[in-house]
Amino acid sequence: MRVLQALAVLMLCLSFSNVQAAEKELNVGFIYVSPIGDAGWSYAHDLGRLGLEGMPGVKTSYVEAVAEGPDSERVMQNMARKGYDIIFATSFGYMDPMLKVAKQFPNIRFMHCSGFKTADNMGNYFGRMYQARYLSGMVAGGMTKSKTIGYVAAFPIPEVIRGINAFTLGVQAVNPEATVRVVWTKTWYDPATEKEAAKSLLDVGADVIAQHQDSPGPQEAAQEKGVYSIGYNSDMSAFAPKAHLTAPIWNWAPFYRNVIEQVRQGTWKAESVWPGMETGIVDLAPFGTMVPKDLQDKVMAAKAEIVAGKNKIFVGPIKDQKGTVKIADGVVAPDTDLLGMTWFVQGVVGTTE
């Protein structure tokens, strides 16, 4: 009797999985480095995941606050064993663990955000956030009175340095004399330290605070001081309604939908992709009411140029802090240079070490 029962259950399971296979339901897993409520990086990715929920035959799930390194490898392996079809890992430090797991599960597609390694079944992706940062720099340059803008930054890696440079070029496009002061916190998410870093910039006369950090700590500091701020990742205006001018933001949903479609149609390839503003992957948050209309128009005009591919931002002549020409007149910096950028443009005060 027991044997029969077990057989029945087994049959049921088998038939169930067959049905699933027939419908080709895609199981999509996401791994986040921080809790999704952080209003920052992981939150933006999760909005992208939620954008998939409406697609027929797609089931998503996520694991949040997964530490980089061995923990993440375990989580990925778990997902792979459970039969997920696509796994997205959204932090730099997941790269090597993902590479390892991808080799163990050749039939599963792996996508890694912000890294540089690929495998037969593992691609990587990122967005040209520097385009949106350029535009937010224009807003900051238009709003500063002290001509000093503070920038609270996480780690001196090319991604962050590139963002600071693009931001500064945006500032200079509307306000050539303004400088951007940088303070490194060496953390992605530590509201207390980030707020303190913002305060230290306010103390040296900055009247707009921008950030490459995942917490709204710097926004709080700007609002308390009664000056302006530029958010990051997602619209942070809820944290500092009086200070928040705009924010360069991520919009992952269209990108993730596109990947799912490619997998469905069998056109997905394991490659490195770096789409820009024209795909909507990066954008500007709505302007605060304190941003004057003519400045808004100017920024939107620049956005149209970037979307049309007419403004590549890193176009020479661009000098470094010492005044040496790094990008020659008329030259558009190639992506390889942008991805390995380790120097500041003229007008940035601070070190890249």
Partner: protein, 306 residues
């Protein structure tokens, strides 16, 4: 450097030193009773989370502050049970408490990440905040900072000038003699553990009620460990703890301000400063051990006398 940079720096030193000060004073009371609690970080973070959750639920920062103290007391009670009831190893229990506290706070606090709660804001004290230099440094903060101005003298008086304070120190110095004198050593040690836990909880609360009005995993960021080191630096004296806490707070604030001022020193070196100072301080303190008032029976469990 000019005054316009130094005054905000010193004011920031007081502010960033405050959570460390609460925790250091708590650890001093605990260690004076003869119990070593290395779980400060864990106790603090439970206080941080409790304060945030209570402030969000009730809208009252004051209530949240007191609740954090109680939560700190309860967390420290775990250490008390292990060390005072079961005579467990104090070092191991303390380390376990740190892991337990941070893990539990991460788990329970997950739903609260990214929300803002009401908290304390700076209130300039009338008259005294007008005093040049001293006013903006010490009297333009939130109420939780002002509270710390009163606590060290109280602890000093309580420990050094009252009978219960003498008994508590006896429990930490020579528990056998204290027992012979008819004192209930375990009771004083319990007081040290729970009272210390209360202050550590308050220190944690400062981070989510004043310093920021947010909750996130690991908001304490190692401040509990700095407090443990500061107790040694302070030679177990409340007065020196104030100095030490502000010194550390000052170094933390200084490295960010040096960067903002456009220095060419690599930021990695500047960020090392607080931790390098911790090591230097411990070395210096061990040289001048003679001045130290380390409790002789620190970390040694007492078997029941009867």
């Amino acid at each position: 450097m000019e005054l316009a940079i130094i005054i905000p720096l010193l004011a920031a030193a007081v502010q960033s030193g405050t959570p460390i000060l609460y925790a250091t004073l708590g650890e001093i009371i605990t260690e004076k009773s003869g119990v070593l609690n290395l779980g400060v970080e864990g106790v603090m973070i439970i206080g941080t989370l409790t304060a945030f959750v209570v402030a969000l639920a009730t809208g009252s920062p004051t209530l949240a502050f007191v609740a954090a103290g109680i939560a700190g007391t309860l967390t420290a009670a775990i250490h008390g049970m292990v060390c005072l009831w079961f005579k467990g190893n104090q070092v191991v229990s303390g380390l376990a408490l740190t892991i337990l506290g941070t893990g539990l706070a991460d788990y329970l606090g997950n739903a609260y990440v990214g929300r803002t709660a009401p908290g304390f804001t700076p209130i300039a004290l009338p008259l005294v905040s007008e005093i040049p230099i001293v006013g903006p440094i010490f009297f333009n903060h939130d109420p939780l900072v002002y509270l710390t101005y009163g606590i060290p003298p109280l602890i000093w008086y309580g420990l050094m000038r009252t009978r219960p304070g003498l008994c508590l120190r006896a429990a930490g110095e020579h528990p056998a003699a204290a027992t012979a004198a008819g004192l209930h050593v375990a009771a004083y040690r319990w007081f040290g553990v729970l009272g210390g836990g209360f202050l550590m909880g308050l220190g944690g609360a400062y981070l989510s009620l004043s310093y920021t009005h947010l909750w996130t995993n690991n908001l304490t960021g190692g401040r509990g460990w700095i407090a443990v080191a500061l107790v040694i630096f302070a030679f177990w004296r409340p007065g020196r703890a104030v100095f030490g806490a502000y010194l550390f707070g000052g170094i933390m604030a200084l490295q960010l301000r040096l960067q903002a001022s456009g220095t060419q020193i690599p930021s990695s070196l500047l960020l090392m400063l607080p931790y390098a100072l911790t090591v230097i301080v411990l070395v210096l303190s061990s040289w001048r051990r003679g001045m130290s008032e380390a409790p002789a029976a620190l970390g040694i469990n007492v078997e029941p006398a009867d």
